[in-house]
C-alpha cells in the first residue's frame, strides 16, 4: 500500500536520506530506529511532504506517486490519508486554540462544505477514543499534562482515519506509566493502518511494532521482525544500538559504539565505526540484501562468525572431557562458558587454542576449517589464564613478557616493538615508563599482573580472546576493573571473548550469550538474559540457585512473605545435591 523507493533528501549539499526502499502493507507496523541524526525524522517528514530540502525518489500511496504531486494536491493527502504525530509534545499544539478546536480543524480543512455539527460530534468521539474527557477538549494545551497532550496529538492525527500513521517518538518525554498507557492506546489505534514508528527507544519500538528497520546515516542497514531483530541483531550497528540502550532484559553491562556518525561517506556509512570492516567497506556502499527473513546492508553479511566449533570431542584415554560440543562465537561477542570444575570448560578452551587436540569434530576460524595452528592462528587467537603470576614467566620482566608474542611473530623492529608494547600497556591502563617495563612478576600486584597478561594477549591485536577464569584470583574491586577493561576493549576493537567461569553471576554481567557445560556437553545455550531468567535445564537452575546473592540476609529476617511468591532461590532445600552429577 505504501511503497517507498529510492527516497533521497538533501539539505544544501548534505544527503540526509540516501535512498530508502520500503514496502508496507495495510496492518503493517514498522519501527524506524537509529541514533539522532540518522535521518529518522527526516524520513517521516519526507513522507508527509514537509521537508524543506531537495527530495527525490518515489513514494507510492495506493499506486499514486505522492512525491511527484504539487503542493495543493499534497495538502489534500496530508492529515487525511497520511498523518503524523510529532515528537516533543510540549509545543506541538497551538497554545492559543482549545484542544477540540485543533482536532476539529484537522477534520475541517479536509471538508469541501463545512459541517460544524458533524465535526463537533467526530471530535467528541475522537477524544473518547484516545481516553480524554470532554472537559479536556475545552482546555488549552497549557492546562494539560504531557500524557494528555500526547493523547490530543494522537486524536488529531487520527482525525480523518488516515491509512498511514507516522509516529515520531510517540513516547519520548513521557514518564514510564504514561508511556505504558500511550503504548497501549497506540497499539489499538494502529490496527488496520500502515504505521511507522520513528524512535530511538528500542523498548517502545519492541512494544509497538512487528517489523523494525535500522537507519544509519540515511540508509537502512537492517530490516527484520522486531523480536527477532532485537534478540539476534545481525548488523554490527544494530547490535551496538541494543548494547547501548538500557532495558530490563539485557544483563550485560552497557557498551557504546565507538566513533560518531558521518553523513555522505563514499563507502558503507558505518565502516568508520565498524570493528569488522574490510577493504571494500570504505569504497562501496553495501546493498540491502535479503538473508532469510532479514535484510542486511553489510559487505560481510552481518556480524561474522569468528569461531565455529562443531561436534568437538576431546578424550584423555578413555575419559571424554569434551563430548560433542557445538558452539559459534561471533565477532565482538562474549560467550560465557559456565559450569563447575571438571565440566570440561577449560579443556574446551585449551582444545581451541591448541594445547589439547581434539579427536573428533571441526574447528573453523573465520569460516575456514582449521588445519593446523600456525603463527597466523595465534595472531588471531590469544588466551589469558586464571593465575596471572604463574602465566608470566618469573624470569621475564614486563617488557619481555608483553613483547614476546611480537618476537615470536617476528613483527617489527625493536623500536617499533617498544612503541607497540607501550601503547598496549597504556590501553590496559598500566604505566608504560621504563621502571615498570623492567619489573618482574613478583614485583607487581595480581591485578597488574593480569593486566600485563592481557596486554601480552592483545599485543598482536587478536580477534578472539579466550579468557579462562581471568579474574578468579583477584579482589572483587580489581576484578571489576579488569572486566570493565575487557568490555571496553571489546567495544573498541570488536574483540570476541570466550569467557570461562564457574561464576554465573559474573558471566551474567559480561556475556551476550551463555553456554552451560556439564560433563563435557553443552546442556543449555542461549542469550544470557534468557538463560539466567528462564533456565530450562535443571543444572542451570541449580547453578542459579547457588549463585551469589545479596538478598538471603533479608530473607532470613522474614522479608520473604512480601517478596514475589515462590521462585526465589532461597526456598530450595539446602539438602538438594550441590553437585550436579548427583541430580
Amino acid at each position: 500500500m505504501l511503497e517507498i523507493s529510492d527516497l533521497k533528501v538533501s539539505y544544501g549539499g548534505d544527503e540526509i536520506l540516501a535512498g530508502i526502499d520500503l514496502d508496507l502493507f495495510r496492518g503493517d507496523s514498522i519501527a524506524i530506529i537509529g541514533e539522532s541524526g540518522a535521518g529518522k525524522t527526516t524520513l517521516g517528514l519526507a513522507l508527509m511532504g514537509l521537508v524543506d530540502g531537495r527530495v527525490s525518489g518515489r513514494v507510492l500511496l495506493d499506486g499514486v506517486d505522492i512525491a511527484a504531486l504539487d503542493d495543493r494536491e499534497r495538502r489534500k493527502i496530508r492529515g487525511k490519508d497520511m498523518a503524523m504525530v510529532f515528537q516533543n509534545v510540549e509545543d506541538a499544539l497551538d497554545p492559543l486554540m482549545t484542544v477540540s478546536d485543533q482536532i476539529g480543524e484537522a477534520i475541517f480543512v479536509h471538508q469541501d462544505r463545512g459541517d460544524p455539527r458533524g465535526v463537533g460530534d467526530r471530535v467528541l468521539r475522537l477524544l473518547g477514543s484516545v481516553g480524554l474527557e470532554e472537559v479536556k477538549g475545552r482546555s488549552y494545551p497549557h492546562q494539560l499534562s504531557g500524557g494528555e497532550k500526547q493523547r490530543a496529538l494522537i486524536a488529531m492525527a487520527l482525525a480523518n482515519d488516515p491509512q498511514v500513521l507516522i509516529l515520531d517518538e510517540p513516547t519520548a518525554s513521557l514518564d514510564a506509566v504514561t508511556k505504558a498507557e500511550i503504548t497501549k492506546l497506540l497499539l489499538e489505534r494502529m490496527k488496520g493502518k500502515v504505521a511507522l514508528v520513528i524512535t530511538h527507544d528500542l523498548s517502545a519500538a519492541a512494544r509497538l511494532t512487528e517489523r523494525m528497520a535500522v537507519l544509519y546515516a540515511g540508509r537502512i542497514v537492517e530490516i527484520g521482525e522486531t523480536c527477532d531483530l532485537l534478540e539476534n541483531p545481525r548488523h554490527p550497528y544494530t547490535r551496538g544500538l541494543i548494547r547501548s540502550s538500557p532495558n530490563m532484559t539485557t544483563t550485560k553491562d552497557l557498551q557504546g559504539i565507538p566513533g560518531r556518525m558521518v553523513h555522505g561517506v563514499c563507502g558503507c556509512p558505518f565502516s568508520e565505526r565498524c570493528t569488522q570492516r574490510i577493504d571494500i567497506c570504505d569504497k562501496v556502499v553495501p546493498p540491502l540484501a535479503e538473508v532469510g527473513d532479514r535484510s542486511i546492508a553489510c559487505h560481510r553479511g552481518g556480524i561474522v562468525p569468528l569461531l565455529e566449533l562443531s561436534k568437538i570431542r576431546t578424550k584423555f584415554g578413555k575419559f571424554v572431557a569434551v563430548d560433542g560440543v557445538d558452539l559459534t562465537l561471533y565477532e565482538g561477542e562474549t560467550i560465557a562458558l559456565v559450569g563447575e570444575s571438571g565440566s570440561g570448560k577449560t579443556t574446551l578452551a585449551k582444545t581451541v587454542i591448541g594445547l589439547f587436540s581434539h579427536q573428533e569434530g571441526e574447528i573453523r576460524l573465520e569460516g575456514v576449517p582449521l588445519a593446523r595452528r600456525d603463527r597466523g592462528f595465534y595472531r588471531k587467537v590469544q588466551m589469558i589464564y586464571q593465575n596471572p603470576k604463574e602465566s608470566i614467566s618469573h624470569r621475564m620482566d614486563v617488557f619481555d613478557a608483553v613483547s614476546e608474542p611480537l618476537a615470536v611473530q617476528k613483527a617489527g623492529g625493536s623500536a617499533e616493538r617498544i612503541a607497540t608494547v607501550k601503547r598496549v600497556l597504556e590501553e590496559v591502563e598500566l604505566s608504560s615508563d621504563d621502571d615498570f617495563l623492567a619489573k618482574y612478576p613478583h614485583q607487581i600486584s595480581g591485578g597488574e599482573a593480569q593486566r600485563v597478561a592481557i596486554a601480552r594477549a592483545l599485543v598482536l591485536n587478536p580477534k578472539l580472546l579466550i579468557a579462562d577464569e581471568p579474574t578468579s584470583a583477584l579482589d572483587a574491586s580489581v576484578q571489576a576493573k579488569i572486566l570493565r577493561l575487557l568490555l571496553n576493549l571489546q567495544e573498541k576493537r570488536g574483540l570476541a571473548i570466550l569467557f570461562i567461569t564457574h561464576d554465573i553471576a559474573l558471566a551474567r554481567k559480561v556475556s551476550d550469550r551463555m553456554a552451560v557445560m556439564l560433563d563435557g556437553k553443552i546442556v543449555e545455550e542461549g542469550l544470557t538474559s534468557v538463560v539466567t531468567t528462564s533456565p530450562v535445564h535443571p543444572y542451570t537452575m541449580r547453578l542459579l540457585e547457588v549463585a551469589p546473592d545479596l538478598a538471603p540476609a533479608r530473607v532470613a529476617r522474614g522479608a520473604r512473605e512480601t517478596g514475589p511468591a515462590g521462585g526465589g532461590p532461597w526456598n530450595i532445600s539446602e539438602l538438594l545435591p550441590l553437585r550436579a552429577r548427583e541430580l
Binding site: 517528514l45 514537509l50 496530508r78 510529532f86 480543524e105 480543512v109
Partner: protein, 351 residues
C-alpha cells in the same frame, strides 16, 4: 494494600475539590490585585498632580495660576479662588477639597478661554482621540498585516522591499513627515485642507460631514501611521519568523492546513501577542507624536490646545491636560491588558 490505595485515591479527590475552591479564590485575588494596580497608579497621579504646584517655592497660588494671571486678578477673585482651593486650610483639607472638586468634574478655570478647564478640554479631546485612536489602530493593523506577510516570505523579494522602505520611513520624526505631506499634498497639489478638523460653517450633516472630517484627518493620520507602523511591523515580522519554526506550525501543516490558515490562524495569532503589548506601551509616544502633528496641521486636538496653553501660560489648563493625558494612557494600558488576556488563554489562566 488495596484499601490503602483506594483511600489515597479518595483523599486525592477531596483534595482536588478543595483545590478548586482555593484556585477560584486565588484567581479572584489575582484579578483584583491586577485591577488595584491601576487604581494605585491613578491615585499616585492624583497625588502628584496635587503636590507638584504646592512643592514649588513661593506661593502655591502663583504656581497654580502663574504670575501674569495673578497680576491681572482682582482681590475679590483672588479671595474666591483661595477659598475654592482651600489654600487657607491644612494640607489634608486641601487635598480633600481637590479630590472633591475633581469628583465634581472641576479641573479649575481657564482664564484664557474663560471657561472651566474640563469643558475646554472636552471640546478638543474628541479630535485627538479620533486622530491618535485611528492612528494607533491603523498602524498596528497595517504593521501586523505587513509583518505577517513579510515574515512568512522571509528573505524573498517582498520581505526585503518592505523591510528597507519601512526602516527608511521610520527614520523621520512624525512632525517632519507631517510637514512633507502638508507641503506636497496641501500646498503644491492642493489635495488636502491646510488646517482644521472640518470645514467651519459649512452646515454639512451626515455622510458629507463624515467625508469632510476624513478629508481633514487623512494627512495628519498618514503622517502618524507612516512613522509609527515600522515598530509594529518589525516586531510582527520577528515574532512571525520565530513562531514559524515552532512545532505546532509543522503539526498544522501535517493536518493539511492551507498556507493562509497557517499564516494567519496559527502563526499570525501567536505573533499578535507581543505586538499588542508593544502597542500599549507606544500610546504615550503616539500622544506626543500627535501633539506635534496637530500643531503642524493646526488640528484642533489636545496637542494644539496644550501648545496654545503653554504659549498663554494658562496653567490650570496645562495641568488639566496633563492629568487627562495620563488618565487616557492609563486607561489604554488597562484596555490592552484586558485584551491580552482575551487573546492569550495562558495569561488569563496565570492571572
Amino acid at each position: 494494600m488495596e484499601d490503602l490505595h483506594k483511600s489515597t485515591l479518595e483523599s486525592q479527590e477531596v483534595g482536588w475539590d478543595g483545590g478548586r475552591v482555593v484556585a477560584a479564590a486565588k484567581a479572584f485575588f489575582r484579578r483584583s490585585a491586577f485591577l488595584s494596580n491601576y487604581l494605585i497608579a491613578f491615585l499616585l497621579i492624583l497625588v502628584l498632580n496635587f503636590t507638584l504646584p504646592r512643592l514649588m517655592p513661593g506661593d502655591p497660588f502663583q504656581a497654580i495660576y502663574g504670575e501674569e494671571a495673578l497680576l491681572a486678578m482682582t482681590p475679590q477673585l483672588k479671595a474666591q479662588l483661595v477659598e475654592r482651593l482651600a489654600l487657607d486650610q491644612s494640607m489634608g483639607q486641601q487635598f480633600l477639597a481637590y479630590i472633591l472638586a475633581l469628583a465634581g468634574g472641576d479641573l479649575g478655570h481657564s482664564y484664557y478661554y474663560n471657561q472651566p478647564v474640563l469643558s475646554v478640554i472636552l471640546d478638543f479631546l474628541p479630535w485627538t482621540l479620533l486622530l491618535t485612536g485611528s492612528a494607533l489602530v491603523l498602524s498596528t493593523l497595517l504593521g501586523l498585516f505587513l509583518g505577517i506577510e513579510s515574515g512568512f516570505r522571509r528573505g524573498r523579494h517582498l520581505d526585503k522591499t518592505l523591510l528597507a522602505s519601512l526602516m527608511f520611513l521610520n527614520g523621520f520624526p512624525d512632525f517632519f513627515m507631517g510637514i512633507v505631506l502638508l507641503l506636497i499634498f496641501g500646498v503644491v497639489w492642493g489635495l488636502i485642507p491646510l488646517s482644521g478638523a472640518l470645514t467651519p460653517y459649512s452646515g454639512l450633516v451626515g455622510l458629507p460631514l463624515a467625508i469632510d472630517i476624513l478629508h481633514h484627518l487623512i494627512a495628519p493620520l498618514a503622517a502618524l501611521v507612516l512613522v509609527r507602523v515600522t515598530s509594529a511591523y518589525l516586531l510582527t515580522r520577528n515574532t512571525m519568523i520565530t513562531t514559524l519554526k515552532e512545532n505546532f506550525i509543522l503539526a498544522a501543516r501535517a493536518k493539511g492546513c492551507s498556507e493562509g490558515k497557517i499564516k494567519y490562524r496559527h502563526a499570525g495569532r501567536n505573533s499578535l501577542l507581543p505586538v499588542v503589548t508593544a502597542t500599549g506601551l507606544s500610546i504615550p509616544q503616539m500622544i506626543t507624536g500627535a501633539l506635534f502633528v496637530e500643531i503642524v496641521f493646526s488640528y484642533p486636538g489636545v496637542g494644539l490646545l496644550l501648545y496654545n496653553s503653554l504659549l498663554t501660560r494658562d496653567y490650570p489648563l496645562i495641568q488639566g491636560i496633563l492629568l487627562m493625558v495620563t488618565v487616557v494612557v492609563l486607561a489604554a494600558n488597562l484596555l490592552v491588558d484586558l485584551l491580552y488576556s482575551r487573546l492569550d488563554p495562558r495569561v488569563s489562566h496565570a492571572r
